[in-house]
């Protein structure tokens, strides 16, 4: 690992994005995005639907190759060494990633095997992950019978078994009631506290982003329109401004413009939601 670490400009930078661009035909979904994220940071990505947040995350998690530009994630180039990047990141996608027709334990066992966790360590790590996420009692129930908050916690557990350096959380609290949202965030903060795990989070809840993120990137039409701490962004927007004001000032009323393209994704999310109650 010592060799590849030289890719990093600083040992504390764990994500280094440079001019990352992705086109789909004529549409530029991500347009020369550049930013860095420090180790242990909770980094928020906000922006209207269709702004390019999901495409950005898909590239950083190696699901989608970029059209141009580069990114170093956890010490490895996403284009040159996607396998190594995957080994060192965890990803909780917006859609369901836990399988409803398996039990919680079986879902974790699948993850443990996919990530090459040695057989003798598997059961201990699974038991610890279940306990940490408060799911020990429900371990052998089918996930199809879990509540939304329990599913999210299970998904976080299964993306943590291999001890990733960076955890991507795409809308981790979407569709959850306030109590479940708070529990999810408690667990996320606890992880950062215990393991200095770097988090990259997208959310539509401005209050969450403001409360929990160290820094925020506001993404609009594929570009990073502003990057900074919540306090700095608010100060820039004027005295007494809220994060909503920042959002509206930078993005304006354009959030409707790409609604049609998101139909497929919306349908998928709703289908997923109805499937798992």
């Amino acid at each position: 690992m010592g060799v590849t670490m030289t890719d990093n400009p600083s040992p504390h930078v764990t994500v280094d994005v440079r001019d990352l661009t992705r086109r789909f035909g004529d549409l530029v979904a991500v347009d020369h995005a550049s930013f860095t994220i420090a180790e242990g940071e909770i980094f928020g990505l906000i922006g209207p639907n269709g702004a390019g947040k999901s495409t950005l995350i898909k590239m950083l998690t190696t699901l989608l190759p970029p059209t141009s530009g580069s990114a170093i994630v956890a010490g490895y180039d996403i284009v040159q060494r996607p396998g190594e990047v995957r080994r060192h990141i965890g990803y909780v996608p917006q859609l369901l990633s836990a399988d409803g027709s398996l039990s919680g334990y079986e879902n974790l066992l699948l993850s443990a095997r996919l990530y090459g966790i040695p057989g003798r360590e598997r059961s201990q790590r699974i038991a610890r992950a279940l306990a940490r996420m408060g799911l020990s009692e429900a371990a052998h129930h089918l996930v199809g019978h879990y509540s939304g908050g329990m599913i999210r916690r299970l998904e976080i557990a299964q993306s943590l078994l291999h001890r990733p350096k960076i955890l991507f959380l795409d809308e981790p609290t979407v569709g959850l009631d306030p109590a479940a949202r708070e529990t999810v965030w408690d667990h996320v903060l606890d992880l950062r506290e215990s393991f200095r795990t770097t988090m990259i989070v997208t959310s539509h809840h401005m209050d969450e982003i403001e409360q929990f993120c160290d820094r925020i990137a506001l993404v609009d039409r594929g570009r990073t329109a502003a990057i900074g701490t919540p306090a700095a962004l608010k100060a820039e927007a004027g005295p007494g401004a809220t994060l909503d004001d920042v959002f509206i000032r930078l993005v304006g009323g354009k959030s409707e413009s790409e609604a049609e393209e998101r139909y497929g994704e919306t349908r998928r999310a709703r289908r997923a939601a109805s499937e798992h109650g």
Binding site: L63, R86, L95, S97, L109, S111, Y115, G116, R132, F195
Partner: protein, 278 residues
């Protein structure tokens, strides 16, 4: 979990150790994917029984009537015997085609992304899915065997031959479930897959020796059937499953075609499966 003193990657001391671990990891990844599918069947085994209805109907209804027609059956086999090997292959084919629909289903849900962000090589994921298809197919085979025995088909119960049948079914199932996965990667929606699945499975079934011998076919159809891997699966099954059955092309060619086509399809599917996450 992410304790700095307990790194996720274990250091390798020697090159051989690293290679050994890579192979071990690969096998574990394949097994993990297949085991998850088997656990799902264990939670909800009803599917296995409902899927068994179709081959039973073919043998009971179609088979009993067609057995009255003269000249359909070659090789001195009774028609029902001849048909039973074909229906075994057919039930394997129809179950295998399910693999593609389930891949699209997983993509719609989001479960697919979870596989794709893991370090498992794409070929390990594809092979794991294919093996889970084999488990489904073998459970079908068991039911077809039982029905065939009840109907008085001359089923060979020699253990070596049964092992041969299992291998032929596993290869055929892996081949067609991987083929189905490739189609799923191309069409990407369930609606389109349903349409195209019908359009593909029926010709694969009818342009083969599954329910009638190639000698009854017009030359053009016979030529097509010779390019169809199902023909070779059925040919191997006739030899291995039936008392007095014989292969037309020889078992080495039959198994060669199944292995070669299956390997080529796996390589193509591994490339395409990664694009399902886009």
């Amino acid at each position: 979990m992410a304790r700095p003193d307990a790194p996720a990657a274990r250091p390798a001391n020697t090159a051989e150790e690293a290679v050994g671990r890579t192979i071990g990891d690969y096998a574990t990844q394949v097994f993990g994917v297949a085991a998850a599918e088997v656990q799902k069947l264990h939670h909800d085994p009803l599917e296995l029984f409902t899927r068994a209805v179709q081959p039973v109907l073919w043998l009971l209804l179609f088979g009993e009537v067609m057995a009255q027609v003269r000249g359909v059956s070659p090789q001195n086999l009774r028609y029902l015997d001849f048909l039973s090997a074909g229906i075994l292959a057919q039930s394997v084919l129809f179950v295998a085609i399910f693999n593609g629909i389930s891949a699209i289903w997983e993509r719609d849900l989001g479960v697919l992304q979870r596989y794709l962000v893991s370090p498992a090589p794409r070929s390990a994921l594809v092979i794991g899915k294919a093996i889970s298809g084999c488990v489904r197919a073998l459970s079908q085979a068991l039911i077809v065997y039982l029905v065939a025995l009840v109907l008085g088909v001359g089923v060979a119960l020699n253990p070596a031959k049964i092992v041969g049948v299992i291998v032929a079914i596993a290869l055929g199932s892996a081949l067609f479930s991987t083929f189905s996965l490739i189609i799923a990667c191309l069409v990407k929606t369930r609606e389109r897959f349903m349409g195209i699945g019908q359009v593909l499975t029926m010709p694969i079934f009818f342009a083969s020796n599954a329910i009638y011998p190639l000698s009854l076919m017009p030359p053009w159809l016979r030529a097509v059937s010779h390019l169809n891997p199902l023909t070779y699966e059925v040919d191997a099954l006739r030899d291995l499953m039936l008392v007095g059955g014989a292969s037309d092309y020889g078992l080495p060619l039959d198994f060669g075609v199944l292995i070669g086509t299956g390997a080529a399809l796996t390589a193509i599917a591994a490339k395409m499966y990664a694009r399902m996450g886009y």
